[in-house]
């Protein structure tokens, strides 16, 4: 049986496709970039699937940024309305 996954209106036939999609989105950005409004919509939907979604979202999502993560990598970060910030793994949104 094919496992499907959706971020809002975006459906992916396979989790691998969803991963490739978000990976391409991440790589489009340099560290320090704000994520565009259009991509942010998709990320909000993806974040909802994160196993720690409630804790990650906290008081809300104001915007997303791409910043450096450990060992010279980069990842998405949530900017909350209260000024706090939290990174999350897009793979966790797909694979739990």
């Amino acid at each position: 049986m094919t496992k499907t996954i959706s971020f809002g209106p975006l459906d992916f036939a396979r989790k691998l496709d969803a991963e490739a999609f978000l990976k391409a989105m991440l790589n489009k950005y340099d560290v320090g970039d704000r994520v565009s409004a259009q991509d942010a919509e998709i990320l909000r939907d993806a974040l909802a699937l994160h196993p720690d979604a409630a804790a990650k979202i906290g008081c809300g999502v104001d915007s997303f940024s791409v910043r450096s993560a450990d060992y010279g990598t980069k990842c998405f970060w949530i900017n909350r309305p209260d000024g706090s910030t939290e990174k999350f793994s897009f793979r966790a949104c797909i694979y739990g």
């Binding site: 489009k28 950005y29 340099d30 560290v31 320090g32 970039d33 704000r34 565009s36 940024s65 791409v66 910043r67 450096s68 970060w77 900017n79 910030t85």
Partner: protein, 869 residues
């Protein structure tokens, strides 16, 4: 026999043996722990009347050797002779040499009874008075007469009616003092409203700024500032307070960028002007001078340099038909003894000392060390500790780390004081709180020993200098920052294999510039230059250098004279990025300068420099530049704003912006309070390295450069930055040692945050703004504090900038800002804040030196009171 022949004969033959004995006697009196040879241990016997008569003949000569001999006779008569008449005659001879400061010193020391004039015969008295009148200058603004020496008199009398002037004289000739007096007099007595004083280092900038403040006194109608801000400039131009700006060449460009043009500068003084030949920064200096003179062709310009061969070289760029003059002096004002220290075979604690005279060494005696020196640094440290025990001793070290080590060794040989002087305790406290509790400077200064290097915070460095001058710090171990221009003199300087920069043996003129620090004119009669292990060819590859003067040569001329290499570099540069072009380090700065000139004029054949070079060379360069210029659309205006940055790099950056597919907002730096700021700087620095110039290298270290820049801009204190660096090493289990981490953090602040980042980030932003205007996104251009200024001073908040505008050092401004809640205070708000809390300042755990600075700058009345106590 003509007078000149008589003078030559006196020095070469007539007095040869006696001058040597005088030299030995004088030098021996200067050195501690020295056992003189048997002959010199006896009472000296000199034929004073013969010597003094000869001295008065020699004093009429302009030759350095003759003047030096006369000065030696006069000094010996004052310091060695027993009878009043001989001493009086020594003072008269000093008067003939126009060395009035030395006469005053003899009076202060009790060597000369007061009221010399009354003891002179009528004719001598008239002659002395006539000389004093001839050798005094009238300060027009105050009506006061100032006694001067020959060099000072020639400077003063010629500066008025020449538009360009280039003055050169040895260290300790009273150059800086006189130039500052002249500058102030010009500002007070002429129509000049804005003057710029260019100094090559931030250390010298803060020193000159401080000296001007003292000379001008409180309630002056002339303001002094070292910040490139628009407000005071505009005020001066529109009838407000006149303004003297003290800048490095980079800061002058920042200022001109903020104002738009450099127009309005009436008077430009270029100190340490021989540094126009410096690698990379020389051409930026040349560009700064040209920028001012281009915007105001009638600017009055004075170049000042130490002991140069050809001060007139600097005048060749003066506008046609303008009156110019070179004023050159080689006259000594204090005696200098070059002393060689060589270890005796098999007796490591005993060192033979000898003085150099005409290339031959004259034995002085044996120096006894406290302990055997094993290792090269100990040799330097122990000889210094023994020979210079009475203090005023400067020791030259080749690196900051070595300066710390040598200072540590010397401190172990000096007795621990029973009670530490309060001024030294305050400096130690500042070092512990302002840098780190374990900063090596703190325990050293408590014992009267210190070190000094360029990357130290300016407040600490200037306090070290002040306490060395006052004699409380007895030994100071310094690095080449001192040759780069800090006016600090000493009684004795000790060197072993001095290097300049990373490993290059010192050129003779650099050695003599450093050696010139020995001898505090007006404070001492003599200075001593002690060279340790002079026959060691590793330490002194070319031996102890003979006396030499700087040859002035512009960096641009030197590079153009290298034949076709520059044109070939430009041809290669057209095809590939600077990072991949061989010779970028040698040619990029001058290449950028010429390219900008080409963009401005369509050819370099009409520039001032073209007349100094072969027309074929200029034509060849023009051809290479034409190829480059074809690729460039950014126009000369932006290129002019960024000296040292290639217009080609600016163009490539513009193309990168045009090709950028993301949201253009992401091209802008994020405000430093934003979480994106650090990462955004990483990306921007990567872009700069790729398109503009490889400035932040290696790429793997970009995150470190970005981190330093963000913390610096956030207004973080140096102490906090060092603490965080140590915590990072501890958290990641990385090995570290505290002294090295402290020095590395200081270096990153000075080199990355305050030098490279302002230079390249302001160019980045200028090109970005050009792009944003072109695509109609002017809404993204903020009219905030210029990024170059923010970085140079390490401020991003209005309050911090206001505090620094009021004259506080960054260290004091940051310490105070930690106590101030608001980030948007104006200068008046800041003053008000301090006035309201004056009584509480002491309880705020702020180091005493910082509180003193805050009081002096923000509470002028309190400062004035303090000064009178």
């Amino acid at each position: 026999m003509s007078l000149a022949e008589l003078q030559n004969w006196l020095v070469d033959e007539g007095l040869g043996e006696e001058l040597e004995r005088l030299m030995r006697r004088l030098a021996i009196a200067e050195i501690d722990n020295l056992t003189p040879s048997a002959e010199d241990a006896e009472e000296p016997k000199f034929d004073w009347s013969r010597l003094l008569f000869a001295g008065s003949i020699l004093a009429r000569s302009q030759l350095r050797a003759h003047q030096e001999a006369a000065l030696r006779i006069a000094t010996a008569a004052l310091t060695l002779a027993e009878t009043t008449t001989v001493r009086d005659a020594g003072a008269v001879l000093l008067g003939k040499l126009s060395n009035f400061r030395a006469v005053a010193l003899a009076e202060d020391r009790g060597l000369l009874a007061a009221d010399l004039d009354s003891r002179l015969g009528m004719s001598l008295r008239i002659e002395a008075q006539r000389r004093q009148m001839n050798r005094a200058i009238l300060i027009e603004s105050s009506g006061r007469w100032l006694p001067v020496n020959d060099f000072q008199e020639r400077f003063w009398s010629n500066a008025g009616d020449h538009q360009w002037l280039s003055a050169s004289a040895p260290t300790a000739s009273g150059k800086t003092f006189l130039v500052l007096q002249w500058l102030i007099d010009q500002m007070r007595s002429t129509d000049a409203t804005i003057a710029v004083y260019l100094a090559p280092t931030r250390a010298l900038v803060s020193e000159i700024e401080g000296a001007l403040g003292v000379l001008l006194g409180p309630d002056s109608k002339v303001e002094v500032s070292s910040l490139p801000l628009r407000e005071k400039f505009d005020a001066a131009r529109t009838g407000g307070s006149k303004l003297i700006l003290v800048f490095t060449q980079e800061r002058l460009h920042l200022m001109a960028n903020v104002i738009g043009v450099a127009a309005g500068v009436d008077l430009l003084i270029v100190d340490e002007a021989h540094k126009i030949g410096d690698h990379q920064r020389g051409v930026i200096l040349q560009d700064a001078i040209e920028r001012v003179s281009r915007d105001n062709p009638s600017v009055k310009l004075a170049f000042v340099s130490p002991a140069t061969q050809n001060p007139e070289e600097l005048l060749t760029d003066a506008p046609e038909g303008k009156p110019v003059i070179a004023i050159d002096s080689d006259a000594p004002t204090v005696l200098q003894n070059v002393i060689l220290a060589e270890q005796r075979p098999r007796t490591p604690k005993l060192w033979n000392l000898s003085a150099l005279r005409d290339g031959a060494s004259v034995p002085l005696g044996v120096l006894q060390l406290d302990t055997s020196p094993s290792g090269l640094r100990k040799r330097l440290a122990f000889v210094a500790a023994a020979a210079g025990a009475r203090g005023g001793t400067l020791v030259y070290a080749n690196r900051p780390s070595e300066a710390e080590t040598v200072a540590g060794l010397i401190s172990q040989l000096t007795p621990k004081p029973v009670a530490t002087d309060p001024a030294l305790s305050e400096l130690a406290d500042l070092a512990r709180k302002g840098v780190h509790p374990k900063y090596a400077l703190a325990p050293l200064v408590e014992r009267g020993v210190a070190f000094h290097y360029g990357n130290m915070p300016s407040l600490i460095r200037s306090e070290v200098e002040r306490l060395f001058r006052s004699g409380k710090i007895r030994f100071l171990v310094c690095t080449s920052t001192l040759i780069e221009g800090v006016n600090l003199s000493c009684r004795t300087i000790v060197m072993r294999g001095p290097r300049k920069g990373k490993g290059n043996p010192m050129e003779p003129h650099d050695f003599w510039n450093l050696a010139g620090r020995a001898g505090r004119w007006g404070d001492e009669f003599q200075g001593n230059i002690i060279c340790v292990d002079p026959k060691d060819r590793t330490a002194w590859p070319r031996g102890v250098p003979g006396r030499a003067r700087y040859p002035i040569k512009r960096e641009s001329d030197a590079v153009i004279e290298r034949g076709d290499s520059l044109a070939e570099y430009l041809d290669r540069r057209a095809e590939i990025d600077a990072a991949d072009v061989d010779g970028a380090n040698d040619f990029e700065a001058v290449g950028s300068y010429l390219l900008t000139a080409y963009l401005r004029q369509g050819s370099i054949s009409q520039t001032q420099l073209a007349k100094r070079h072969d027309p074929a060379t200029i034509a060849r360069l023009d051809a290479s530049l034409a190829t480059l210029a074809d690729k460039i659309e950014i126009g000369p205006d932006i290129a002019v704003r960024h000296p040292g940055v290639s217009a080609l790099g600016l163009q490539r950056l513009l193309e990168a912006f045009r090709a950028y597919e993301g949201d253009v907002e992401n091209l802008l730096p994020a405000t430093v309070d934003s979480d994106d700021s650090y990462d955004r700087f990483i990306t921007i620095m990567g872009r700069i390295n790729l398109h503009l110039y490889p400035a932040f290298t290696p790429d793997a270290l970009i995150p470190l450069h970005a981190l330093i820049v963000v913390r610096w801009l956030k207004g973080m204190s140096l102490a906090a930055m060092i603490r965080k660096n140590i915590e990072y090493h501890q958290k990641n289990a990385r090995p570290f040692n505290i002294p090295t981490l402290i020095r590395q953090t200081m270096e990153l602040v000075e080199v990355t945050a305050r030098f490279k980042a302002p230079k390249y980030l302001s160019a980045y932003l200028d090109v970005l703004h050009l792009h944003l205007r072109a695509i109609g996104r002017i809404d993204l251009i903020e009219d905030d504090i210029d990024i170059g200024t923010q970085l140079e001073f390490g401020v991003s908040s209005r309050t911090l900038l206001s505090l620094m505008e009021l004259g506080l050092s960054r260290m004091s401004a940051v310490a105070l800002y930690e106590k101030i809640a608001r980030d948007d205070l104006s200068k008046d708000d800041c003053r008000q804040w301090v006035v309201e809390r004056e009584a509480q300042l002491v309880g705020m755990d702020i180091p005493a030196i910082i509180i003193r600075e805050i009081r002096a700058k923000l509470l002028p009345d309190a400062g004035a009171q303090l000064a009178t106590f």
